[in-house]
């Protein structure tokens, strides 16, 4: 039961009804996003404050500081826009606009509920990746357009990190597409009789880590670390232009949590409840066939899952320290990309070897077993590597070098257990 059907019922089947439906949907999505960021910023401040054993905003708008973000927005709206001398007029002004545009455009294929989606492209996931990679270029534009050494350096480092972590994100998203046999987001939801989180957890974890790095959140927030490079590529932006970068980051984080919920957790569907129901012999629920009520319940389920993942993002931000830039890039190219390539090959081979028509649970457990196998083999390799290096250092009589790669940390942790 989609908006277009509703409008067709009211106005009849005329060509301009499509246009009206598209316009309504575009404006709804964009306004929803701009308004929900206000809630998200407040939520983040409150949750991180509690994690740090303090209270957070509690003065503006009642005891819970509910209108704090509104006050911040009003403050940003009345600040002067200082353009640094020598800044390239076109590039300097276009960069924040483009960033928000790219952040908004990806939401066109996000399935909110059965029937509530911007447009169900048959290349949905690929479209998402393309528009995300356009937002990488805007960072470079912002750094360049500011005519500031530090902004430029910050822009370079940001682009190096963003571009590096695109590779495991692209490759990790290949796995659900292989399993679901389609690139469309709605198709992936409908193909998940078991959530892919339990079927290929390694792909989910790798996607989650790359999403953390792509949106520039802790532990990968070197892009804007206040203590490191003084706000990085958006030093010279003031007022609402800075607000635009901030907005784009929050919209991007919400999108990544939504994408995780759709691709790995079943979106607006409830696969686990359906499994339990079929186990007990009852009919599985399918929200797509339940009309308006199904749409509303599906919307609620989707929002619950999206905010659940978003809370994990906030949790990680409040808990973990920042990673050094060479550790970030080493971790990506020397651990994440090889393990992702291996995982793709294993999933592809395994999925072809499983004869079609086997029980979904059997298929899922085989994939799960292969993922656990890959993780064990990797940990074993890292452990041997770490042990060998430690032996060499002991024999050489020198102290072991400082931890070079994040992989070493994992080996240490695995060894300690």
């Amino acid at each position: 039961m989609s908006l277009t059907d509703l409008l067709y019922q009211i106005f009849g089947n005329q060509p301009w009804v499509d246009l009206i439906a598209s316009l309504i949907s575009i404006f709804t999505i964009s306004t929803f996003l701009l308004l929900i960021v206000i809630f998200l910023i407040w939520l983040e401040r409150k949750v991180i404050a509690r994690m740090q054993d303090r209270i957070g905003p509690n003065r503006v708008g009642g005891r819970y500081g509910a209108l704090q973000t509104v006050a911040d927005v009003l403050k940003l709206l009345t600040k002067e826009q200082i353009t640094p001398s020598g800044a390239d007029y076109l590039i300097y002004n276009v960069a924040p606009i483009l960033t928000v545009m790219a952040a908004l455009l990806v939401w066109a294929v996000m399935p909110f509920a059965p029937g509530l989606i911007g447009v169900d492209l048959n290349v949905g996931i690929f479209y998402i990746l393309s528009v995300s990679s356009v937002s990488v270029v805007t960072v470079l534009l912002a750094g360049w357009g500011s005519n500031n050494k530090y902004a430029l350096l910050g822009g370079f480092r940001a682009v190096a990190q963003l571009v590096s972590y695109e590779v495991p994100m692209i490759l990790a998203l290949l796995v659900p597409i292989i399993l679901a046999r389609t690139m469309s987001t709605v198709g992936i939801i409908e193909a998940q009789s078991i959530p892919y989180l339990f079927m290929v957890p390694l792909a989910a974890v790798i996607f989650f880590i790359s999403a953390l790095a792509e949106t520039g959140r802790t532990p990968f927030d070197l892009l804007e670390a206040d203590s490191e490079i003084v706000a990085g590529f958006h030093i010279e932006y003031s007022g609402m232009k800075f607000g635009m970068f901030f907005l784009a980051e929050f919209i991007g984080t919400l999108f990544m949590s939504g994408l995780f919920a759709v691709v790995f957790m079943g979106g607006w569907n409830v696969p686990i409840i359906n499994l339990i129901l079929t186990f007990f012999g009852a009919q599985p629920v399918n929200f797509a066939e339940m009309g308006v009520l199904g749409t509303i319940i599906g919307l609620g389920v989707f929002f619950f899952k999206m905010f659940f993942v978003y809370m994990i993002f906030i949790w990680i931000r409040g808990t973990w320290p920042r990673v050094r830039v060479d550790q970030i890039l080493n971790f990506n190219w020397k651990l994440l990309v090889p393990i992702t390539l291996v995982m793709i090959l294993v999933v592809a081979v395994l999925d072809k070897l499983i004869p079609p028509g086997t029980n979904e649970l059997v298929r899922a457990s085989l994939h799960l077993a292969s993922n656990i196998l890959i993780v064990f083999v990797t940990l074993e390799i890292l452990r041997r590597n770490g042990r060998r290096r430690r032996m060499q250092a002991v024999q050489a009589g020198t102290e072991l070098e400082e931890i070079e790669t994040g992989a070493h940390d994992i080996a240490e942790a695995a060894h300690a257990h």
Binding site: V123, S130, S133, V137, L140, L152, R181, T182
Partner: protein
């Protein structure tokens, strides 16, 4: 009607930014105009029902190659406001050469796709792409990549080409010994 307007708009954007790429003094602005023309080409792919190709154009050209070009510019120019002379002393000859190749190309293309209406098209029966691909089916495209009768050899050759590009670029860009860093 909508497609006509879109086509004209895309033509103006693409060709206009291409002209800016070639004639502008500031190299960095030229690189930006190149990105705009890439986006225009992606728009053309959309009007031709090739949505996957449009997204691939965005992903590869704007998302990766533009960054590579901008990095290459920054690697070889020290000042940010670097200016170049867009025209050199051979511009007369080059205009003649460009017009001549345009005329030759138009004649060759008109041989196989005649401009006059209702004329016979000799190449019409020679399309190798299936209808399903022409209608935008990505699954059909994927099947043609691994089908032995279709495009598997170019597919594997593409990976060899990428490998050669990677190795070659590392050999060229990376300093030979540590002292040359």
């Amino acid at each position: 009607m909508f497609e006509q307007i879109l086509f004209v708009l895309l033509t103006i954007i693409t060709l206009g930014s291409a002209i800016v790429v070639v004639t502008h003094r500031n190299l960095f602005h030229a690189a930006l105009a190149l990105m705009v023309s890439f986006a225009g080409v992606a728009g053309f792919y959309i009007t031709l029902d090739a949505g996957f190709l449009a997204a691939a154009q965005l992903l590869v050209y704007i998302g990766a190659i533009s960054i590579l070009i901008i990095f290459a510019i920054m690697m070889t120019r020290r000042l940010m406001q670097a200016t170049e002379q867009p025209f050199n002393s051979q511009r007369g000859l080059s205009i003649v050469g460009a017009l001549a190749s345009l005329v030759i190309m138009a004649l060759v293309i008109a041989q196989y796709w005649p401009i006059a209406p209702n004329s016979e098209v000799p190449m019409a029966s020679k399309t190798i792409l299936e209808d399903a691909i022409l209608q935008g089916s990505v699954a059909e495209l994927g099947r043609s990549f691994v089908n032995v009768d279709a495009f598997v050899v170019p597919f594997e050759l593409a990976s060899v080409l990428l490998l050669a590009a990677l190795v070659g670029a590392i050999l060229v860009a990376w300093p030979k010994t540590e002292d040359q860093t």
